[in-house]
Symmetry: C2
Subunit: 362 residues, 2 copies
């Protein structure tokens, strides 16, 4: 019997959401949008699609405790921590192994932990067609989000001809994956109606993705086989991962497989989708005052527009005569950032990591 | 014997230094410039000029405890709290009464608590000449600061002919007092060399200022006489002030007396002087980084210039892509203000006072 599984990738650092997002409690474990942590929303979004015991979360050792706390509904053994991050190809190999241990004929979806999708019914419908496509054919399925604007922050998928329709959803060939474009290119993409956003959601059979790993990243594949063999011999998986996972090739699944394989298909999806990539995403999901300010917690604006301010009830942030700022106040750190510099928060966090006296703020 | 006294006016709210400056601990009780609270610096600046027992501090009931804590060197009975603020004319009447109780022939200086003057020797020298002028003649003496720039934040004194020279300092008639000018007028003032900054420092005999109050604000004068009579009858001064001080006319000494009297003289002073009127004054007294940022406490600037940031060692404030901001982080409140809006902090504080839920932040 072919069984369906979900593996949620939750090992990110969420650096662009500093100072709320921290090494031990990154973005996906915080309610940056909505009332519960993004990971919890991602797990809840799957209810009715697969049973909880078929949902895995891949995280890292720093965050595992917080993941269990945020997702008490998950079986503890389904939350697996990588000892160190080795990018997404190694994570996919580990995911395939976890699923295979449950069901050698398993088919699984890789889903990011930190995306916001409100239309659960539409999401299930697309995901179901994607699973069916992966069941019927030896293909690597990716969900492509129909773009609503010429975003420059996402990679794109150029879709090819429609192969079939499953339960109302097109299954299309993929012509190519393209990197984050500049604005002009993005506009062309959106105008052409040929391009989809790459949302990092993949669906495939265990055997099919293993075959692809073997073909395109053989070194990673054979190194991972050693992990499998050791676990089969009875060595605990955590011990084995601690020993062998750090030696795996560090490469993304996009570079390693998706951009090379010829059996990739995509399911264009129309559901709402937001990867909540940086602070300004919060403003998109919140109501603004008449001056365009989005204010959380105790905030007073004497004069100012288009600011995003995140404070708490017991701490007053006052703004006077400022525009287009992101101000985030946490217990031990405060960010004051121009809205157009949201991408540079990552650079700041890198600097923090290099200075001993600032390590506590990571 | 004519004895010299100093009365320091320390009842201000320091609203422009919110959120550090609070009702119970305003600017003058904080080390906003230098290593000790401004009031303490003001008291220390007098050492060698008059004995400490001749130094009074006028404050208000909310701040008296903090004043005593900040100035442990002062005799406790020299720190007198007004039950409510009634502007500076009433405060001067009270000051005259306090001095008179010690010495009916006393002569005293009124000094603001929150100004910064580093050149103590020069300050003593000017103050000594001012006291001598007030001793010799029945005049109201004011110290006029020789302006170093066309400041629009101060009132000006137009100086007239020199009457005499005392110990190297000119004693000049005052033609008139003028309100804060616009920039163009200020430039004319400075170019003319006829104008001095009004620093709010006055020196006079008890009898001379009492005579002036009687002439120009007779209602205030006679109302204050009732306070004196009640104290002479043996009613404690605090009880008397609580009962009668709130009924006094609310008017500044400048409006009430200085702008009307014809016996006002000024001593032009060349010492350094800063009234530390708002946050940007801090930047003037601090060293900036190569990008013009003045940073106190734990602060990191990823990209940005001409910012003033005040934090603490245990709280990191990070700036990215911002210019000309004042960022002040305290335990329970944070200000983010454009440098050109420093004067609007007062308006913000007024709004806080009107909203019940924000009263704790005053």
């Amino acid at each position: 019997m072919i069984e369906r599984f979900i593996v949620i990738m939750a090992g990110g650092k969420g650096e662009r959401f500093w100072p709320q997002s921290r090494l031990r409690r990154p973005k996906q474990l915080l309610p940056v949008v909505g009332n519960s942590p993004l990971l919890n929303q991602t797990v809840e979004r799957l209810s009715g699609f697969v049973p909880l015991e078929n949902v895995f979360v891949l995280t890292n050792s720093l965050q595992r405790d917080a993941v269990l706390e945020v997702c008490p509904q998950l079986p503890e053994e389904n939350v697996v921590a990588e000892p160190v991050g080795r990018d997404t190809a190694a994570a996919v190999a580990l995911a395939a192994f976890l699923v295979k241990q449950r069901n050698a004929d398993g088919i699984f979806a890789i889903l990011p932990a930190d995306h916001v999708i409100y239309d659960k019914a539409s999401f299930h419908s697309v995901l179901n067609s994607a699973f069916m496509a992966a069941e019927r054919n030896k293909v690597l399925v990716t969900i492509g989000i129909v773009p609503t604007e010429p975003a420059t922050g996402y990679g794109y998928i150029q879709q090819g001809e429609e192969i079939e329709k499953i339960e109302g959803h097109s299954i299309c060939r993929v012509e190519r994956f393209v990197e984050k474009p500049d604005l002009e290119t993005a506009k062309r993409y959106v105008d052409s109606s040929e391009y989809l956003w790459n949302g990092g959601m993949f669906i495939w059979r265990v055997q099919v993705i293993e075959k692809a790993l073997e073909s395109y990243v053989p070194e990673l594949y054979t190194d991972f086989l050693k992990i499998e063999q050791q676990v089969k011999k009875g060595v605990p998986i955590l011990t084995t991962l601690a020993e062998l996972f750090p030696g795996l090739q560090k490469i993304s699944i996009d570079y390693a497989v998706m951009e090379k394989a010829d059996n990739v298909v995509t399911v264009p999806a129309n559901f709402d989708w937001d990867d909540v990539g940086e602070w300004s995403a919060i403003a998109r999901h919140s109501e603004a005052d008449p001056d365009g300010n989005v204010l959380k917690g105790s905030v007073m604006v004497e004069k100012g527009s288009n600011n995003l301010v995140v404070s708490s009830e017991d701490h007053l942030v006052a703004l006077i005569g400022v525009e287009d700022l992101i101000v985030v106040k946490t217990k031990d750190a405060t960010l004051v950032c121009h809205r157009s510099d949201g991408q540079n928060i990552k650079r700041l966090v890198e600097r923090l990591g290099k200075e001993e006296k600032y390590k506590d703020f990571l």
